[in-house]
């Protein structure tokens, strides 16, 4: 199983039936593949749609129906399209159950940096700051390291996306929950040892007893 599939399948288990969820562009988008369609989970995109669905059949896409990356998408029966003010009303107002997004860094306090590398990459925050500040749960979905460099660090050196602590970190190696007591290691990816996780993490991890292996979502694309 590819690292990103592990992450996507594990995140899929975090999403509650009949709730509204925002999946970031890239790796998080793929989480939708591992969701039971009967669970009634609604995906939204900050450019103004509730009820986003997968890419349309070849030749059937509509240029006025896109996700936040500008890619054409389809929609479920019962979708609703909304303006940007209503869209961020849903996000900021606590109506969004979960946002799933990538990270450049997450630190021991659960702070997230994911929008800018000063002097190098200044794309703008888009909707990320609203999502991380407003969603009821913030789930970071990312590879544990970037080119071998740990991304879970003692203290973010990059500018923060929000001063609100994220809810959960899901990587290809581990599931980690930021708490008042620090980053608690909750699960290991299949075949990954505690020692490997600790070695790939510069942040201090709290380990409480046995660390079980991840369960993975059973759906499939």
């Amino acid at each position: 199983m590819k690292p990103e599939e592990i992450i996507q399948r594990r995140v899929a288990l975090e999403l509650k039936p009949n709730t509204l969820v925002n999946l970031g562009i890239g790796l998080p988008t793929g989480v939708a593949r591992y969701i039971d369609p009967a669970a009634g989970i609604l995906f939204e995109s900050e450019n103004g749609i509730v009820g986003l669905a997968a890419k349309p059949p070849e030749g059937m896409d509509d240029p006025e129906l896109t996700d936040a990356g500008g890619n054409t998408v389809s929609a479920i029966p019962g979708a609703a399209t909304i303006d940007s003010a209503v869209s961020f009303g849903l996000i900021r107002g606590g109506h969004l159950e979960a946002t799933v997004l990538g990270a450049l860094q997450v630190d021991e306090e659960g702070m997230l940096a994911n929008w800018v590398v000063p002097g190098k990459m200044v794309p703008g925050m888009g909707g990320a700051m609203d999502l991380v500040t407003g969603a009821r749960r913030v789930i970071v979905a990312m590879n544990h390291t970037a080119k071998g460099a740990p991304k879970i660090v003692p203290k973010c050196t990059l500018p923060l996306t929000s001063i609100r602590r994220v809810s959960l970190i899901v990587t290809d190696m581990a599931v980690i929950e930021p708490t008042d007591a620090g980053l608690v290691l909750r699960e290991r990816a299949p075949g990954v040892t505690l020692e490997q996780i600790v070695a790939a993490t510069t942040a201090k991890l709290v380990v409480e007893g046995e660390v079980p292996e991840m369960k993975l979502g059973v759906g499939g694309a």
């Binding site: 450019n47 700051m129 500040t133 929000s162």
Partner: protein, 217 residues
């Protein structure tokens, strides 16, 4: 009936140095014919308020490529390296604003409100230089309203008196911007007789729209 203009004539209404709100999200729901004419006009020194600058040479990206933008207030420029280059070269003064704050700042400008109180950006560099307000012990970023000389917006259907309806994710910032500019110029896929857009479907009442762009010849 609203005055209706060809894109190149509408562009003549816009002076160098004007502030422009431009609808669209990565070019979806942007007024493309108007942007084409504006980029070709040689006018410059615009302040652009928009969600993003699309991709190089596309939609608002045309104005960037034409060197027509000296100031930009946007939430995202990541997919247009030309905007980033212009920013780094000091040719474009870029203010990056969280998307939800950007749309509320525009709304506040159009709705006569004094500002926006949001948690978004609090304690981050996005709130640097902005005032925070303590309300019952909680901190909120106070973001200022935005207005513009012109709103250049795109609709799906217009009627002769300027009522507008939008389609799917092409809606985005358009109806909010229509409220916040001195002069509103709307480009629409269809222009219909009065009465053909039911009252409940109208998202922008025609009374705030100043000009319509004629259909393509």
């Amino acid at each position: 009936m609203k005055p209706h203009l060809k894109p190149e004539d509408a562009v003549n209404l816009i002076p160098d140095g004007a502030s422009l709100m431009i609808g669209g999200f990565m070019g979806v729901g942007s007024p493309h014919r108007l942007l084409d004419a504006l980029a070709a006009s040689g006018k410059r020194n615009f302040t652009v308020i928009a969600n993003d600058t699309a991709r190089p040479g596309y939609a608002i990206g045309k104005l960037i490529r034409a060197g027509a933008v000296s100031r930009l207030i946007a939430s995202h420029i990541g997919l247009n390296p030309e905007t980033q280059k212009g920013m780094i070269a000091g040719e474009i003064d870029v203010e990056l604003v969280p998307q939800g704050t950007l749309v509320e700042r525009i709304r506040a400008g159009g709705y006569g409100l004094g500002g926006v109180l949001t948690k978004t950006g609090l304690g981050t560099i996005a709130a640097e230089g902005q005032r925070t307000i303590d309300i019952d012990g909680e901190q909120w970023v106070l973001a200022s309203p935005l207005k513009a000389d012109f709103a250049l917006i795109a609709a799906d259907q217009a009627d002769y008196i300027g009522n507008l309806q939008y389609q799917l994710t092409a809606t985005n910032f358009n109806p909010i911007m229509a409220m916040a500019a001195e002069t509103v110029i709307a480009e629409s896929r269809e222009i219909l007789p009065v009465g053909m857009i039911p009252p409940d479907i109208v998202k922008t009442p025609g009374v705030i729209v100043d000009y319509l762009i004629e259909r393509a010849a």
